[in-house]
Symmetry: C2
Subunit: 199 residues, 2 copies
Amino acid sequence: MALRHAVLAALLDGEFSGYQLAKGFDIGVANFWHALPQQLYAELTRLEGDGLVSGREVVQDGRPNKRMFRVTDAGVTELQRFATAPAKPSFIRDDLLVKVQAVDGVDATPVIAQLQERAAVAEAKVEVLGKLLRRLRGDVDEEEFLLTGQRIGPYLTCQRGLAFESETRAWCLRAAELLVRRGSAGRAPSGSAHRRPAG
Amino acid sequence: MALRHAVLAALLDGEFSGYQLAKGFDIGVANFWHALPQQLYAELTRLEGDGLVSGREVVQDGRPNKRMFRVTDAGVTELQRFATAPAKPSFIRDDLLVKVQAVDGVDATPVIAQLQERAAVAEAKVEVLGKLLRRLRGDVDEEEFLLTGQRIGPYLTCQRGLAFESETRAWCLRAAELLVRRGSAGRAPSGSAHRRPAG
DNA sequence: CCTCCATAGTCAAGAATCTGAGTAGTCAGA
DNA sequence: TCTGACTACTCAGATTCTTGACTATGGAGG
């Protein structure tokens, strides 16, 4: 039960519709929590039912109506409670790392391709996050913003996201290059990779 | 359906019991995929049913019997297929980042404490992973090992884990120190953090 | 005119994951 | 002797997440 808190935290920045949240309007949020639109809509409905957010219908013409949500005082209280509760350890779940772990046992070609692809995606995210950081801090420099800004939470999480993506990119490129240099591509290793421990 | 491939990849290193897998015998695996013991046991049973791993009963005295598993040829084929399939984008899910995102809206004290705690955990992991890397590469230096070693998958994923934990540690310490310097601790921000956009 | 894309959602079903407890023997320490 | 910790695993139930639809309107491009 933490998607709810991610949504609450995202809504601290103002009023948003489920659609906006789903669009990853704030890369920062997508950055530490990932969810499909359906989940967000469902969660917003639940949150409203629990009185932690309040929604209002906005009638639009030329396009469908939408519902905009903001955090209520009860929602802030709930966030406060959540902040005090012990944090669960974070974890990565990454298909690509699984593939790299297994790369000695299979043909490396597709893994190399995916590492390069991932590096490109990470690079794009680095740029987006860099822009977002500049936008968040405005004209002042980072040091000053962090000490005096009123809303530093999103800035800090974006920093973390940026570092993560940057590191991801570097690692993917190193790993891909290494696999290319080893010439592991094209040939599947003989037999299975595991060696019987003198069995 | 990717826990199964994580388990297969982990078993490429040899023969292991569910208990060993669960213990995170290989930090490298815990590093890119997290699962509870129950899941691992269930997955191993399913994998065996599908013929992707084979298990054998090992009778022990003085302690319960166990079942040791190894990957079958069909399992390697399945890993090969998995490696070729498009990878889903990775994502982090982290309670602590949610809390930091919301830190402007709530009392920072517990968040600071959790950042420091997390930094300590990350530091411990950095050391464990560092040792694991040294053990994996043996006497040769990294460059040489990566070019000539037979089993570099786990080494690469450990490298990634190490970089991640190291970055986590640095960020947590920076963020905690910043929040302390801002003196955001002890006082809950007045009212809710969101400001009505001139509503 | 027809199709695709964007907006703005909703619903249902199934897979994956987590919570929590239970079994059962061995060994170490108070 | 009792308690707790370690090995080794199992089961049931709840929650969460993913997959894959489906509704409906408006505008752009071919």
